[in-house]
Every structure is written in structure tokens, then in C-alpha cells.
Symmetry: C2
Subunit: 430 residues, 2 copies
């Protein structure tokens, strides 16, 4: 195989991931040639400015990525610019239309345009690799598309955003509040100046939409994902969680039942006996439940130049070896849209924190509201007494219909002795 | 692709895994056809007796697996008989010599004959899939061969034997002793009548040898693996571990440093902050450290009909899709034997439990023995006093050369006040 032709790579975007990918291709050139029997050869790079300190000397350089995608002579386009549309989408389309394969780390683009791109790829005989779009270096796309191919998957869920997990882990370890930790994370470069994309769950939603499409063989559908972020998670709730035997994690959860598909992002209390409870800092982890394999958990670094480059290059190695897989695991015509689970099918156990004026009779009103909606309490924590002061009352309720619980909580919120809007956090079942 | 020819499968061995595989192929026939564009078709099965209750009616049946391997018309032989040699090895060789690919769950055979079989496969253009040989349903082979292909791996370690992990977990949860839990596990069918293969670490050694070959691109070398089992792990040590913030797990650990390769199996204390500490019951988990990806952890069911069938079928799906990978990730000629790390390069932190007659001056002798070998103590636990009785003294020592520690412990063991041989358990560093 040593006489085989090199795999010609055109790479667009020399930011964090692009730089890491160029480094990996240079450092591991021998290893990659050994593994694939071919050279993985950078034949063109595109970026706004010529990069400093990267081993790209002598490689044709484009400031116009569109021109590179259209005109350069390559086998595979590596798109590391980012953004759901714009240049990224243009060059990926241009490559696929030419029958050139694409490797990308762009979750927003795959989440918004994945099916259209998969169709283009099928038409032209190209392949799309997007291992780097979810879970950084974790080989989760390969596992879902190939390693678990013999399973029907009923659930896939995970910690998919390192920034949020870093913030929640730091809040727990240092007992600090959200705003404080976020500000520090921004200073340290772990969170963006506009952090909304991460902390409001949008990034997690993109990744979840991709996982759900792969897991359930359905068209990727970002619009179906309901996302709630971590802005409202308080140090107080994190402390109560710990006391109750839980960790609070921002989860993306996709499940497929007879009632339909549910894809949601929310901060959840995860039992300490569950693997996700122990995934700290910038690590990501994905739990998959297949009908034959049972539960698998894959954990690793969810971001960063080197881990993400590892995923990009894994896709390149597949292309070099001519190992092909349909974009979403099955041909586009076999992707079947599945109805969303109706609101009244949703159910969960819950943590509820009320800030209550400590007055006689308050608890009877709260209990009555829950009873009337047939919500059954599991635990209650109320510490000491502080007559006429505002004190936290924390309770957990057993698995219950969400609609009924929300009605009960709405009634509780309206009680005159309730001083702040109630805080609800789902408790993730095992 | 629907018009593509079926993948013709001959399956030998209809025990637990064979039965599960036949079930999976029948139940998921539609899904597999969707994923691969072909039928995965059982064309022959071999077993000692016609099975009851399996969907193999009408499929040609052989009582002589060797005859099936030689004469039947198939694309891939699935070997699920087991054993390092014997029929299993004969039929795998016969298939490969005919240019037919092989899928196997047989860790003993791969650990003992992997390189010879890989050579045969290369010569005849066949492929060998052995995802099911390590970690049951966990896609660890695929991850090492493909998903992490861009990395140099420095360490791979894991909980690789479900029987041992079940016994250790039960000992912890129920405070019971080894012999007691083993007897129960045998009654429940979780452990064999002759449990040596599992509890003495031999099964883990086979799996570790395979992982090390894949991780370090070296010939699989079962003889280089030093294995120590869990017979000597006591409920007392498990309790002390818990108190010190550790869980005891049987680990297979392979590392590659400048000093050479180290492949060892031993019960180790794993810090609670390390993912492996939380892998309970029959679950397995593998930690890999790559130079780009950093640490990844894959966890799942390590045995059982359905999880193992999931892995067997993943290999069949790869073959159906003509996704090919060299047996050990690189061609056999590129597998490079690496020297074993010399004994004086080995080092670790340790837990030491001594049973000591509580007499004046004992502790000074112990401390002197450690000091003379430059072993530095980290923690000591000695509860209360019981003059002239035998009491446990537990200590942990910092990372230290193993040879020096063993010398110190030998001297301690010879002290007249030491009532039982000292117990040493490695503490796994993060």
C-alpha cells in the first residue's frame, strides 16, 4: 500500500482546531502513513491571514476559502471555520458538489443542514465525517454509526458542553455563585465574551440533535430540541443536590418511546451512582442505551485543539482507508421523521426549592397543591425555624407527569407566603 | 445497494454468545439491511447438537465445525467456540487460508495466536474482527484501531473481567468475604465451577495483551503479561480502602514509557475521583491515554449474550460495508516488539496492611525498614490499643520504586511482632 496515492487534504480555518489539526498531521505523519498505507497530505489551506508558528510553509495558501473549495485539487475538504451557514456551508456544498468528501467539526452546520448535505454527498458519492462536532475527541459518532450498529437505541444523553460543566464543577468545588464563576471563566478564556451559546444550552442542543439523528435514524431536527441553560442554577441548589446525593449537570437527553421522540437540554440532578455524576471540569460524556448492548458510556475531553484534532484526523484516516458509512448511519431515504412526544407524555422526578415566609399554615397549602395534582413527595428538607423570615424549603417528588407538576407549582407560586419563583430541577432517573 | 449480494455468514458455536448473535441477526435483520444495504445472511451453523429455541430452522447445520469451515460457501466465519487452540484455531486458520474473513469473540486465541492469524489474513486478503474479545459490547477495539488512530497511546488500562468486578462490588456493598461471595457467584452462574481463569487474572491478561498490541502497535504478547488475581483481597482491605478514599478494582494496566512496556494485572486501589472507581457490578471500562486526545473512558457491559452479540455484529456490519482495518491497526510488518520495562523501573504508590502484635517498639522497627529503603509514608491508620493482641496497622506510601518497597516489606515481614504476611495493594495514580 505504500505506493498508494496520498490523500490530498484542503483545510479551511486555522483557529484552535485548525491549528491543532495541522500540528497533528505534521507530528504523526509517520504513524498515519503506517496506519493507512498512504500519506495524509495537506495540499491547501485557507484562512484570513497567513498563520504564525504552524507547519504550513510551502503549502498553497488561500485567503478565500470559497475559491479553495471550488478550484483546488484535493480529495477531502476539512471545514474548521464554524457557523451554521456562511462561508462554512458554502465551501462544504461546493466540495460535495464536486464529489469531494468533507470532514468538519461544525455542529451548528450539521444540526441545521445535515440532511441536505447528506443528500448532496449521496448524490455525488462523497462522504461526510463529523466526529469532531460532538464530544471533542470522544469517538461517539463512530460508536453510534458503526460500533453499536446492531442495536436499536432507545436513549442517548450526555454532558456535551465543557464550558457549562466547568462552571458547574467549579461552583460545586468552591461553593461560588454562577455569575462569579462565569466572569472568571471568561477571564481565563474558558467561556466566550458572549457566553449565551454555551450557557443557554444552544451548543448542547446542536450536539444533541446530531446524536438523536444518529441514534434513532431520523432527520436531524434542531428545531425540535427544547433547550434550557444553567443561568438559574444556584450555589444553594448545588449544595442541596449534594446533600440529597446528586450532582447538577447540564444534560442533553434524547429518548425514543412509543409516545414519540423527546430531545431536551436542561440542568438535571444526576444520582451519584450514575457515571455522569463523576464527569468533572471540561470533560464530556455520552450515555447510550441500545437494546442489545445495554448501557455504554463514553467519556473524554469535549473540546480543545488537540482532542478535537484527534477526532478530525480519525475521520481523515477513515477516508484514507476508504471506510465509508452513510452520513447518519443509514441512507437519507431511510431516515424517518418521528413525532415529538406530546407534552402530556413527559414525566420526571423533580427537585423543588421554595423560598417561603415562615408563617403558620404555609406547608399545608403547599402540600394541598401537590396532593390535588396527585404529585407524591419523596423528601422534604426544612432546617430549623425562623418565624416571619424567608427560608428555603426543598423537596423532591417521585416520577410524575410534568404538566401536573407545573400546575401544582404554579398554584404554589401564587401563595402569598412564597417569596421567590420556585426553582424546579429534573432528577434524572437511572 | 439493495441489490447487493448478501453477506454469507457461517457461525460456529451456539453457546451464550452464539445464541445471542443468532438472535440479533434475526431480530434486527431489517435494521442491518438498512445500515449496510445488504442482507446479513446465516448460511451455515455448527454446534455439537441442534439447538432448541434459536431461529436457525432451514439453515444448513454441521456437527463438525472443521468441515463447515473448509467446505461451506460463506464470506465470513464467526468463531464462537472459544479456547486458545483446538477446533477454534483450526477453523479460523481454515477460513483465513481460503481468503474468508473471520469474526471472533475468542480473546485466548487472539492473545496467543493473534500475529500468526493476522499474517494469514494479510496473505489471503481476509480480515479479522475481534471486537467481542475485549469488553463485551464496548466498542473499544474500534476506538483503538480507528477512532484514536491519530494518537500515540501511552497507556491503556481497565476493568476487563465482569466476574471479578461483580465479586469485588458485592464484597464492598455487603461487607462479605471473598470465599463467601465467590461461592454465591458460582451458585448464581456468574462464576465458573473452576473460577481460576477469571479470579486469577488470566482472562484479564488475555484482554490486556490484545489492548496493548493495539495501543502500542506491537505484536500481541501474552507471555509478557504478569497477572495477579483477587483471591487475597479481603473485606478488611476493602473497608480500609473506602476509608482512605479508594475502591479496589482488578485492573489490567499497559503502559509504554522510555523504559519499555509494562503489562500487568493486579488488584489496585483506585481514587474515588477516577472514573474507574465508579464502575460497578458486571460492567467493564477501559481508560486510554493518547497524546492528542488525552484521556478517554469507555464503559459498558463486559459480558453476556446480548452485549457480546452487539460487538460480533458490529464486526459483521464492517465486513458487509467493506470497511477494512489491519488486524492490529497497522500491517504485521509494522508491529514492533518493545522491550519490557526492567524491574527496577517499576514504581507505584502502595497500601500496606500489617497484622502486628501490639508491643512497645514495633512501630519504630517498621518505620526504620521503610526509611532505610527511602520509602516515604503518607498516611498511617492504627485504631486504639490492644496490648499484646494482634491489630491491623494500615499505611499508604508515596510513589516509590517497587524493588525498594519489596525489600523493606520483606524486612518488616521478618519482624517477630508481625503475625501474618503483609498485604500490599498498589494505589493507581491518576
Amino acid at each position: 500500500m505504500n505506493a498508494a496515492k496520498p490523500l490530498k487534504i484542503a483545510l479551511a480555518g486555522l483557529g484552535t482546531v485548525g491549528g491543532g489539526t495541522v500540528q497533528l498531521l505534521a507530528e504523526q505523519a509517520g504513524l498515519l502513513a503506517e496506519r493507512t498505507g498512504r500519506r495524509l497530505q495537506l495540499v491547501a489551506v485557507a484562512a484570513l491571514a497567513r498563520p504564525q508558528g504552524l507547519p504550513v510553509d510551502g503549502i498553497p495558501f488561500f485567503t478565500d476559502a470559497r475559491q479553495m473549495a471550488k478550484d483546488a485539487d484535493y480529495d477531502v475538504l476539512v471545514e474548521l471555520i464554524g457557523g451554521a451557514g456562511g462561508i462554512a456551508l458554502d465551501i462544504v456544498k461546493a466540495a460535495l458538489e464536486r464529489g469531494k468528501s468533507v470532514v468538519t467539526a461544525n455542529k451548528a452546520m450539521i444540526a441545521h443542514h445535515g440532511v441536505a448535505l447528506a443528500q448532496l454527498a449521496e448524490k455525488s458519492g462523497a462522504a461526510i465525517g463529523f466526529e469532531a462536532s460532538v464530544g471533542g475527541g470522544i469517538p461517539i459518532i463512530k460508536s453510534l454509526r458503526e460500533g453499536l450498529a446492531g442495536n436499536r437505541v432507545g436513549k442517548v444523553m450526555g454532558i456535551l458542553n465543557g464550558t457549562c460543566n466547568y462552571i458547574l464543577t467549579t461552583m460545586l468545588e468552591q461553593g461560588r455563585d454562577f455569575d462569579d464563576v462565569l466572569a472568571e471563566a471568561q477571564k481565563l478564556g474558558y467561556a466566550e465574551a458572549d457566553p449565551s451559546f454555551d450557557i443557554d444550552g444552544i451548543d448542547t442542543a446542536h450536539k444533541l440533535a446530531i446524536l438523536a439523528a444518529l441514534a434513532f435514524s431520523m432527520p436531524v431536527d434542531i428545531k425540535a430540541v427544547k433547550a434550557e441553560g444553567i443561568r438559574h442554577v444556584s450555589a444553594l441548589d448545588i449544595r442541596y443536590a449534594e446533600e440529597l446525593g446528586y450532582r447538577i449537570k447540564l444534560l442533553g437527553v434524547a429518548s425514543l418511546t412509543d409516545a414519540g421522540v423527546e430531545t431536551r437540554v436542561y440542568p438535571a440532578m444526576v444520582p451519584m451512582s450514575f457515571p455522569l455524576a463523576h464527569v468533572g471540569g471540561v470533560f464530556n460524556a455520552i450515555v447510550t442505551e441500545g437494546d442489545f448492548v445495554g448501557r455504554t458510556v463514553l467519556e473524554g475531553r469535549g473540546a480543545g485543539a488537540r482532542p478535537t484534532a484527534s477526532a478530525v484526523v480519525a475521520d481523515l484516516v477513515d477516508l484514507a482507508m476508504v471506510r465509508r458509512t452513510p452520513t447518519f448511519g443509514v441512507p437519507v431515504r431511510a431516515l424517518t421523521a418521528k413525532p415529538a412526544a406530546p407534552a402530556d407524555a413527559l414525566h420526571s422526578a423533580f427537585y423543588i426549592r421554595l423560598m417561603v415566609k415562615d408563617e403558620p399554615g404555609v406547608f399545608a397549602d403547599i402540600a394541598a397543591a401537590l396532593r390535588d395534582e396527585k404529585v407524591s413527595m419523596e423528601q422534604v428538607i426544612q432546617r430549623g425555624r425562623a418565624p416571619n423570615q424567608t427560608v428555603p424549603v426543598v423537596m423532591t417528588v417521585h416520577d410524575t407527569g410534568e404538566a401536573a407538576l407545573l400546575r401544582a407549582v404554579e398554584r404554589i407560586a401564587a401563595l402569598p407566603s412564597i417569596a421567590e419563583p420556585p426553582r424546579l430541577i429534573r432528577i434524572e432517573a437511572l
